[in-house]
């Protein structure tokens, strides 16, 4: 079963533990400037949002790379940069519609999320569950559960069907 990083911005507090974990796993230092996942703060709205590579199926970066330095890890589905092949041309950083492939001045190569080989450190480090690593086919499961929770309670046989003109009483929580 393939998994995906599931990001829930409404749970994010902007603490940057994910960036610290990511940079440590990849670079051996605590360095948000080299993190593959980034947390953005929308100050005036009081909102934080983590963002990283979604591991596109038909990945623009893979197609754009002239030296085949971005390869697919069959076990995780991650698109991984092969450092020894990367020539630092940056075409992938232009090709990616989401901006999640980035150039590293220190090495002259690009960096992007590789799902840590199937055990992403950002998800482990997140204290609020804003980042989780879930079944790729069911990234919407938590939201479905939240809606399901608000459906009528009580033993099924006691429930009478709702008249068709009654508006739904519940609203989305997220």
């Amino acid at each position: 079963m393939l998994r995906a990083l599931n990001l829930e911005p409404q749970k994010c507090t902007g603490c940057l533990q994910c960036e610290l974990a990511c940079s440590y796993e990849n670079e051996g230092v605590f360095n948000p400037a080299r993190s593959r996942i980034k947390v953005f703060s929308f100050h005036d709205e009081g909102r934080f949002a983590p963002y990283t590579c979604t591991q596109c199926e038909e990945a623009w970066c893979v197609h754009a790379c002239p030296v085949e330095a971005i390869v697919i890890n069959a076990a995780t589905g991650a698109k991984e940069v092969v450092e020894s092949s990367c020539v630092g041309c940056k075409v992938c950083t232009i090709a990616c519609p989401f901006g999640t492939v980035n150039y590293n001045q220190a090495t002259g190569k690009v960096i992007k999320c590789d799902l840590c080989g199937g055990d992403p450190w950002c998800a482990k480090a997140c204290p609020t569950g804003a980042i989780s690593y879930v079944d790729l086919d069911h990234t919407g499961l938590d939201r479905m559960r939240a809606w399901a929770r608000q459906s009528p309670a009580g033993p099924a046989s006691f429930n009478t069907p709702r008249p068709p003109d009654t508006p739904a009483e519940f609203t989305a929580q997220d």
Partner: protein
């Protein structure tokens, strides 16, 4: 080994910047941040120096765990001699600038002298340069922040900045970083502005490595996070209500200083509490609180982000205040609210925004307004003196107008910027100033929490809750419950809290972790990260050394044991209501014992044995 071992020395008079190696002997004795910078300051300046002269120095300093994955490991401190108290000042802040400074490769930045014209320091990794700040001078923190971002074309810079209050000589101006986090107390921002230094701008891409035992450190940090998550205060209370979780609790036990500390319970507490911040407003149906927010690396996330009602009288024609920003912490809510008798939540939030926007301490400001209100109500000052301000207790209009004037140092705001002590002396009523060593009290009345009286009287930076928070034990039962109305064992309790806190403040961690963590949770994280051996015992010894170093600085600065006192009101006027009804603070029964266990003389001086024992 967690320290970068780099000190950046900035001579503002000559414009030169210089790298020098960190004194590692001192690091082994004083750890980092508060302790280490205090050692540098004590060695490098004459404690009797005029705090606002070029001979004073200002140190921005990180701890060894700043910038690491340890929870709350993002703290930095600003250490200098205070213009408010004449004592050593150390103000601690979270946000992100401390970690950014460390990521740039610096443990500490020492500012000396005074620039001829306004400047700011731009640090990008090893590069450090002083740049002109003429266009930033006279601008608020928030506007200067925007201008710096436009100029550097870099959204990732971090900024620590002084506002107009500091420029105008307000004696309790702070250094604001990341728009709404503050090295807030004792006028450290005033010193920064006196040096013509407007801001520190930082951008670090080197990261923090050099961890002694990385695997052990990651495990210790992980264990620490688990403890925080499972604790009721750090795992639930603080994220949900912030420090404002205390408002109703402290009011209940009758330790909520009210109307310039005339009373100990505030009838409007429930309207300005953490719970109230969650309630939808009747006006626009939205709550005051927008979200909670974390400082760098913090898994507690107690920070409040609030949004004002656009129709509130303070901002109905000011859209620039309609966005979300740093909301009320307990101390600000108390000082701006209960101490002035104002129970209008959005008015307090607006005043708090102004404190952040122009960089002045809401505790000292609120308490100074409270003193002015008492002077006004007793007829000592009138509207002619206040420039038309009707300074009545409970007036949200007066409070917010006073905040606007103080932010800009205009009119009566200039007088309010002197602080409560100087204001009350100016009008011939020093007894109405609720201060210790000229610094205003925080939000715990020592008649209802006896140990706090001793903690305030002996605090090395004047009245302060963050130098020995015995509230934890006396009210919350952390680590064990003691009777808040008894003086028994409080000398020992105060000393233990003071020493432990001095160590935590020197580590790079936030003192709020100690609602859940003991030193036994902190020591393994430091020991795994830092060169040397860092046990609980060693940390407590380091804490005691720091405490005595600060004390020694203050004595050399001219303070004496006579300054270890409380205002007459708290020693003579009994609490009128609540569990402490009929009680005063019994400082005199606690202080001699405290001196004794500190190893000080009956006059509060360090003995030769104490100096020798602590290697001072």
């Amino acid at each position: 080994m967690a320290w970068t071992q780099n000190v950046l020395r900035v001579d503002l008079s000559s414009g030169e910047t210089l790298r020098e190696p960190l004194n590692m002997v001192w690091a082994s004795q004083y750890l980092g941040q508060r302790g280490l910078a205090s050692k540098y300051l004590a060695e490098e300046i004459d404690p009797a120096v005029d705090a606002l002269s070029p001979d004073n120095k200002l140190i921005m300093v990180t701890g060894p765990l700043t910038g690491t994955m340890a929870s709350t490991g993002g703290r930095y401190s600003v250490v200098t001699k205070s213009p408010l108290t004449g004592a050593i000042a150390c103000s601690n802040s979270g946000g992100f600038i401390g970690a950014e400074m460390k990521m740039s490769g610096w443990d500490m930045i020492i500012f000396e002298g005074r620039a001829d014209t306004p400047v700011y320091l731009y640090v990008e990794n090893e590069k450090a340069e002083l740049l002109p700040a003429d266009d930033l001078w006279g601008k608020s923190v928030w506007e200067a922040d925007q201008r710096l971002r436009r100029k550097h074309q870099d959204p990732l810079i971090r900024v620590a900045c002084v506002g107009r209050a500091a420029e105008q000589g307000n004696l309790y101006a702070g250094v604001i970083n990341d728009l709404h986090r503050a090295a807030g107390r004792s006028g450290v921002g005033t010193v920064m502005a006196s040096k013509n230094l407007k801001a520190l701008v930082c951008r670090g891409t080197r990261g923090v490595g050099n961890i002694k035992d990385p695997l052990r450190f990651l495990q210790a940090a992980e264990g620490g996070k688990r403890v925080l998550a499972e604790n009721a205060v750090t795992g639930q209370g603080l994220p949900q209500y912030g420090t404002q979780v205390l408002m109703n609790v402290i009011n209940e036990i009758g330790a909520m200083p009210t109307r310039n500390m005339r009373e100990v319970q505030f009838e409007g507490a429930h309207k300005i509490s953490g719970e109230a911040m969650h309630e939808p407003r009747s006006s626009d149906g939205r709550p005051n609180l927008t979200t909670n927010a974390a400082c760098f690396g913090c898994t507690i996330a107690c920070g409040r982000i609030s949004t004002l009602d656009q129709g509130h009288f303070t901002v109905d024609n000011k859209p620039e205040y309609w966005g979300a920003s740093g909301g009320l912490e307990y101390e600000a809510a108390w000082a701006l609210g209960s101490d002035t008798g104002v129970d209008d939540l959005d008015a307090l939030t607006y005043a708090n925004f102004l404190c952040n926007e122009d960089g002045f301490d809401p505790i000292s400001f609120g308490a100074t307004v409270a003193a002015a209100m008492e002077l006004y109500e007793t007829g000592v000052i009138d509207q002619q003196e206040t420039g038309g301000l009707e300074l009545k207790f409970g007036s949200a209009e007066a409070l917010t107008r006073a905040a606007e004037l103080t932010a800009r140092g205009e009119g009566f705001g200039k007088v309010l910027g002197l602080g409560s002590k100087r204001l009350c002396e100016k009008y011939g009523h020093p007894e109405l100033s609720m201060t210790v060593k000229s610094q205003e009290f925080p939000a715990y009345d020592p008649r209802g929490i006896q140990g706090m009286g001793l903690a305030y009287a002996t605090s090395n930076r004047g009245a302060c809750h963050l130098r020995g928070y015995t509230v934890a034990s006396e009210v919350l039962g952390i680590p064990e419950k003691t009777d808040p109305l008894s003086t028994e064992g409080k000398a020992e309790l105060v000393k233990a809290f003071q020493d432990a806190t001095a160590a935590v403040d020197s580590s790079g961690l936030c003192v709020f972790t100690t609602f859940a963590w003991t030193m036994d949770d902190i020591a393994p994280q430091l020991d795994a990260a830092c060169e040397g051996e860092w046990s609980t015992e060693k940390l407590l010894e380091v804490g005691e050394r720091i405490w005595n170093l600060e004390r020694d600085f203050n004595l050399r600065a001219g303070l004496t044991g006579k300054d270890d006192t409380l205002p007459r009101r708290l020693r003579k006027d009994a609490a009128k209501t609540g569990p402490a009804k009929g009680m005063v603070n019994e400082l005199d029964t606690m202080l001699p014992r405290y001196y004794e266990i500190r190893g000080w003389t009956a006059e509060g001086e360090l003995t030769a044995e104490t100096r020798q024992r602590l290697n001072l």
